[in-house]
């Protein structure tokens, strides 16, 4: 049939091929996992089905002669201030399918990004700045319950010993960790890369809710294992192997929504790791069916603490929602050692677009609110706060720490480091970059030898930059920046926004 429906005919991207440069090596045909490129042997021509292109730019990146360019289709739906082209396309699509639109990555709507309205202080004349290349500069930080006070004993020969039994702590050489991405939503090569990079960097990686593959047990000492609503892969060995346990209540990209790994993606290896039958749907319910109150949460926190002999910090991860501060206070009182707050720009492997784009609040506001609330209640020392969901650069890490976080989790930017182009089709399981797929043909595109080095480089680079920024502020330790909002000024925010963030406007 020659007629094509609008949502197909008004495709968003065009594959531009410079035929003068194309040598017909057919690399693009093999690289495209969306069947948008094919070779016509009869005509010796490479054709493109533009309507199948998702704009992941894999072919463009791999073309040895630079013959390909993926460009936005100038003829996609004409938009005006209210009707953006993607809204129009979504309407066309749903008119045909009657289904929920599923997408990946994080919120891409133009909400205000508070990071971009905050500027960092620096020393001039009256107080000296520090050169981190010549003077000590510490990014090391500890996550865990700090307690009210510590007591020490002094023996007769003057030796000082700690009397108070400290709560378990995680020692981070840099306040950047790799956020939860489960085996199943991503493949083992990428997870192994993160694990290797985390071990080398002296930070932590997170298994996500998909269990810990037996191949990754050697890296579990730097791993945080997740206990989510589906309880996939949770076992004695799993809890025992990890450095910390994270109870996942919510995720920034889909607050209030569970997860669903379709059965066709559950291969033998994933099934074994998740401890479910191969080919069965891995469904994470929206709530934990045993948690309907802070008291219930407390039971799970302490069940895990008992199971791990009070040797490991217990994290509780929630999505940033409207009354996040009150919820965080409850979590602190439920005995969690670390609260992870995931902002609405956080990514995911699959979520309804309507939820991704319209549910939750920004991480900057959430962290500021949580930190203030816990301080007001005098329990800020009882928990550490980890920020995630929308951390894009080293400056964002500095700003979020100044707003009250202890450390940050990164995930989307970690994927960028290994090639992700934010095409937002993680949910299809056909990621041409071999990141969010378990197709053996595609997963091999991530070589852990290369990917782990790239992740290492990213965090190493950020850490250097953070040291420089701290030095400029005249601070020689990241600990001195925590909650230090005086080191921030805002530009272009309203009085109320400044009040919520706890920052002064520039010039004041």
């Amino acid at each position: 049939m020659l007629y094509k429906k609008p949502q197909i005919q008004y495709y968003p991207y065009i594959v531009q091929r410079d035929d003068n440069k194309c040598v017909r090596c057919l690399g693009c045909v093999e690289q495209c996992s969306y069947d948008a490129t094919f070779y016509d042997e009869e005509l010796d021509v490479l054709w493109n089905k533009h309507e199948a292109c998702v704009g992941c730019k894999r072919c463009e990146a791999m073309c040895p002669t630079d013959a390909l360019k993926i460009v936005p289709n100038p003829s996609r739906p004409i938009e005006h201030a209210s009707w953006k082209w993607d809204l129009v396309m979504d309407a066309y699509l749903q008119a045909n399918t009657g289904s929920i639109i599923i997408t990946g990555i994080g919120n891409d709507k133009p909400y205000r990004i508070y990071f971009d309205h905050l500027v960092i202080d620096a020393c001039q004349v009256t107080n000296p700045s520090i050169d981190p290349l010549r003077e000590p500069m510490e990014l090391r930080t500890f996550l865990g319950r700090k307690g009210q006070k510590i007591e020490i004993t002094e023996s007769e020969n003057g030796k000082i010993a700690l009397k108070t039994r400290l709560a378990p702590q995680l020692e981070l050489e840099t306040p950047i960790m790799f956020s939860a991405m489960s085996y199943g939503s991503i493949n083992l090569n990428f997870q192994e890369s993160m694990a290797r990079a985390a071990v080398e960097l002296g930070t932590y990686w997170n298994t996500g809710e998909g269990g810990l593959h037996k191949k990754l047990y050697p890296y579990a000492g730097r791993g945080i294992v997740q206990v989510a609503s589906g309880r996939f892969g949770v076992s004695r060995d799993y809890l025992k192997a990890a450095a910390a346990v994270e109870i996942k209540i919510g995720q920034g990209a889909k607050p209030g929504i569970g997860g669903h790994l379709p059965g066709e993606k559950v291969n033998a290896d994933i099934a074994e790791t998740r401890m479910i039958p191969p080919g069965s749907d891995a469904i994470s319910p929206a709530p934990h069916h045993d948690i309907y109150s802070i008291e219930d949460l407390k039971q799970l926190v302490y069940a895990i603490k008992e199971a791990t002999r009070y040797e490991k910090p217990v994290f509780v991860k929630i999505a940033a929602v409207h009354n996040v501060a009150a919820i965080a206070s409850g979590i602190a009182r439920a005995g969690a050692d670390v609260i992870v707050v995931d902002g609405f720009r956080g990514g995911t492997g699959a979520t309804p677009k309507s939820v991704r784009d319209h549910v939750g609040i920004p991480i900057e506001v959430a962290i500021a609110a949580v930190d203030r609330r816990l301080r007001q209640e005098g329990i800020r020392n009882e928990v550490s706060i980890v920020a995630t969901g929308g951390i894009r650069s080293s400056a964002d890490v500095i700003k979020i720490i100044a707003l009250g976080a202890d450390a940050a989790y990164i995930a989307t930017v970690a994927m960028l480091a290994i090639g992700c182009t934010l095409c937002q089709t993680c949910n299809t399981g056909r990621c041409a970059w071999g990141i969010t797929t378990n197709d053996p043909r595609l997963a091999r595109r991530q070589n852990p030898d290369i990917a782990s080095e790239q992740l290492y480089n990213l965090v190493k680079g950020w850490s250097h930059e953070m040291k420089e920024m701290l030095g400029a502020m005249g601070i020689n330790s990241i600990e001195s920046l925590k909650g230090n909002r005086l080191r921030l000024r805002s530009i272009g925010l309203t009085e109320k926004e400044n009040e919520i963030l706890g920052v002064l406007p520039a010039g004041e």
């Binding site: 040598v23 017909r24 090596c25 690399g27 093999e30 595109r445 070589n447």
Partner: protein
């Protein structure tokens, strides 16, 4: 001896090794000119074999006891002092003995051009002399081809 090691776990079938091979062995050393002006399409010594999901790039193994050399009737194939099994295309008479003899399918008949001769990987002998890695190794984006020491096997085929 250092050879090209094939890491089949990470070959992504991007064909960059093929293009690099053709370009390196062309007059212009430019991929577009090599394919389009010099007519060297298909003249690649590294051949990507794909049977999804498996893929790997295969080229001459530079055997210690090369069967292609045994099969060569004109003395065009020699084993050089550095271990490289070299095919002198000038001396090749196009009997295809090496093509049939190679158990790896690494010797290819040049059927396209006027000169009927065989061709095979020379381990980028010119690049090695200049201190560079073989072109296919350099071009591989996923470290699926490595240039490194290999364990010499006495008898590969019995």
């Amino acid at each position: 001896m250092k050879k090209v090691i094939i890491v089949e776990d990470y070959c992504i079938a991007c064909y960059n090794c093929e293009v690099a091979c053709v370009a390196t062995h062309s007059r212009s050393e430019d991929p577009v000119k090599a394919y389009k002006r010099e007519g060297l399409r298909g003249r690649t010594n590294a051949v990507v074999e794909v049977e999804s999901p498996l893929a790997f790039s295969s080229m001459c193994r530079h055997c210690k006891h090369p069967w292609c050399m045994d099969a060569c009737i004109s003395g065009a194939i020699q084993r050089l002092d550095n271990g490289i099994v070299y095919l002198d295309e000038e001396r090749c008479v196009g009997c295809w003995g090496c093509v049939v003899g190679c158990p790896y399918g690494a010797a290819h008949p040049n059927l396209a051009g006027k000169d009927k001769h065989a061709f095979k990987c020379d381990l980028c002998i010119k690049r090695l002399d200049a201190g560079l890695n073989p072109a296919c190794v350099e071009a591989c984006p996923n470290k699926a081809l490595l240039y490194d020491e290999t364990i010499e096997r006495e008898e590969v085929h019995t």
